[in-house]
């Protein structure tokens, strides 16, 4: 256990210059629904250190994805502020990239051109074409550069979406249940792949998930949310080395702890 903590700290030290920090302060949000306000986030506050891998865990529909949209700058919170690197987040920025639950690849673009999307939008594609090839290589899809999305399996499509995010060299990678729709085998291999990419590049990662096991296997920290409107119920560090095993007693204990927090202590 002690060894594990040390590994974790030295890894964090190596990456210190890379990831962005994040400060979510007293954020509340609500949707207008049939003329009434439906509260989805209730005074959520937390900070994330550079290079952390934080899982946001909570029941389906509790408002985690809404929180991610606010952090990405796609929507603005009703009250409270979200800052990264000391600056308030008001609009999307390519240093904070989102991978959504659906790969949402553009069907009219080849895999290569889908990955190139960010560089093209920022007017950097001409100078940095090799980055696209590099990102495809990172996710193991170099051979599919000329394929169209409809020719890919679900797992491959999600890997392309991951490459499309990584090509921008983000400081903050925002993952909105990216593995939610994949079959369990593809899911397990991609969990490992994402952790490997995070270890290599050192960006800060936020992962929204409702899968406790996924959070425990991947993240360095789990923030547990309540039912809607989402409030923070607990904030747990997972100081275990990678690759992790789901039968690790420390993880099993944490899992029981979190199930209890979610009101599911009887389930196993």
């Amino acid at each position: 256990m002690v060894e594990a903590i040390e590994t974790h700290h030295s890894e964090a030290a190596l990456r210190e210059d890379k990831g962005a920090n994040l400060n979510v302060a007293d954020v509340s949000h609500a949707f207008a629904l049939h003329g009434a306000l439906l509260p989805v986030l209730d005074r959520v506050s937390f900070t994330v250190e550079p290079g952390e891998f934080v899982a946001l865990l909570g029941p389906s529909g509790c408002g985690k994805s809404t929180l991610l949209r606010l952090i990405a700058g796609l929507d603005a919170p009703l009250t409270g502020t979200i800052e990264s690197q000391g600056e308030k987040i008001t609009a999307p920025h390519p240093s904070r990239v989102v991978v959504f639950q659906d790969p949402t690849l553009y069907p009219w673009r080849t895999v290569w051109k889908n990955v190139a999307l960010g560089l093209e939008a920022q007017g950097r594609l001409k100078a940095e074409r090799s980055r696209v090839d590099e990102a495809l290589r990172l996710v193991g899809l170099s051979g599919f550069a000329k394929a169209f999305p409809h020719q890919l399996s679900g797992g491959m499509a999600q890997r392309v979406a991951l490459a499309r995010a990584l090509v921008n060299d983000p400081d903050l990678l925002i993952l909105d249940e990216p593995l939610g729709k994949l079959d369990s085998l593809t899911r397990i291999s991609m969990q490992g792949e994402i952790v490997r990419l995070w270890q290599q590049a050192g960006f800060t990662t936020l992962l929204v998930t409702h899968d406790i096991e996924e959070a425990l296997l991947m993240a360095t920290r789990v923030i547990v949310f309540s039912d809607r409107p989402a409030r923070i119920k607990a904030d747990r560090r997972i100081e275990r080395p990678y690759p992790r095993h789901r039968d690790d007693p420390a993880l099993v204990a944490l899992r029981r702890d979190i199930l209890g927090l979610l009101g599911l202590e009887a389930s196993w």
Binding site: P92, V97, F100, W108, L117, A121, N168
Partner: protein, 341 residues
């Protein structure tokens, strides 16, 4: 190549003979069909030459020659032994149509020029229509050029304006607020209904026709472009925005390509509508083009010319639609096999 030839190496003798028998059956069926087509077209040639015409039409001899030539081609194809049949592959594909069309021409010839069972000036024999093509092709060509010119200018203007309108109301709520009601009110009106007004508002019947064609094309184009742009998956925009896209990028690189399949449906509908307006406008006022030729031929009771113009017209319209679909297949190559033509 090695992939194709490898099954032959492992094929057993029994399989070999079975395959050979099957191939032989296919080749006999082909030869028989070609023979039937040859017979039908020999009959067309025979009826044309041997049975005297009741009226005075030219090009009977040439028509018989053509029919006979076709018959000889089919006859030759029916004589070709199996190993060489691939040289006449297209001819075998066409042979069933060859039989049916041969019978059609033989019956047509018999009912018109030979027996006048179908009333005389209204139903000319096939060689009378051939005569129009050989003797009046200059005027026909001139008409095609005039029609294409009018059509392409009208379609280009209408397509462009419709496309821009559709994109604007799909993208901007403010533009949609003002333009949408007008479009809903005026759009469904058949463009032809404007014809009387257009002919005295515009300086010439030619410019009036361009307006009418543009109107006919513009409405379906605008509606379908609009619905295409309005129905773009909002997640596409989220993705582009988080990757640093500005609105220009969102319109040109996200909204437009996503809406393109719908745009082509609009273009298809618009082009179809434009043919109707073109022909009407040419019949009503423009003194050139296939519609005018049709009207003029009818005025002179030159019914063979009328049928000839109809054939040219259908070739032109069908060719244009085919060209549109080719362009669509080229631009939407990523989504194979959506709409067939």
């Amino acid at each position: 190549m090695s992939l194709l030839s490898s099954p032959a190496e492992v094929r057993t003798d029994a399989e070999d003979t079975r395959l050979q028998r099957k191939l032989a059956a296919v080749s006999w069926k082909r030869r028989f069909t070609a023979l039937a087509a040859a017979t039908a077209w020999f009959a067309v040639a025979g009826i044309t030459l041997a049975w005297p015409d009741l009226g005075d039409w030219g090009r009977g001899y040439e028509f018989a020659l053509g029919a006979g030539g076709l018959a000889i081609l089919f006859a030759l194809a029916s004589l070709v032994p199996p190993p060489f049949q691939r040289f006449a592959g297209k001819l075998y594909d066409f042979a069933p149509w060859g039989i049916v069309s041969g019978i059609f021409f033989a019956v047509w010839q018999s009912l018109t020029a030979k027996s006048a069972i179908l009333p005389m000036p209204f139903f000319p024999p096939p060689h009378a229509i051939l005569e129009v093509f050989t003797d009046d092709w200059g005027k026909l060509l001139e008409s095609v050029v005039a029609s294409l010119r009018l059509l392409s200018i009208g379609v280009a203007i209408g397509g462009f304006v419709g496309f821009i309108t559709g994109v604007s109301i799909g993208w901007s709520r403010a533009i949609g607020y003002w333009v949408h009601p007008i479009m809903r009110f005026i759009g469904p009106l058949p463009s032809i209904a404007w014809l009387p007004i257009a002919f005295f508002v515009f300086p010439s019947s030619w410019s009036a026709s361009i307006f009418l064609i543009a109107l006919a094309v513009g409405f379906p184009m605008a509606v379908l472009t609009w619905s295409g742009v309005a129905n773009v998956n909002p997640a596409y925009y989220d993705v582009a925005r988080t990757l640093g896209a500005n609105s220009r990028f969102l319109i040109l690189k996200v909204a437009l390509p996503a809406a393109l399949p719908q745009v082509f449906v609009g273009a298809f509908m618009g082009l179809g509508a434009s043919f109707a307006v073109l022909v009407t406008a040419e019949m009503m006022g423009v003194k050139a083009g296939l519609g005018f030729y049709l009207q003029w031929a009818q005025g002179w009771a030159a019914y063979a010319n009328m049928y000839a113009a109809l054939i040219v017209m259908s070739l032109m319209c069908s060719g244009l639609i085919t060209a549109l679909f080719k362009l669509r297949d080229h631009m939407l190559a990523y989504q194979k096999g959506a709409l067939k033509w």
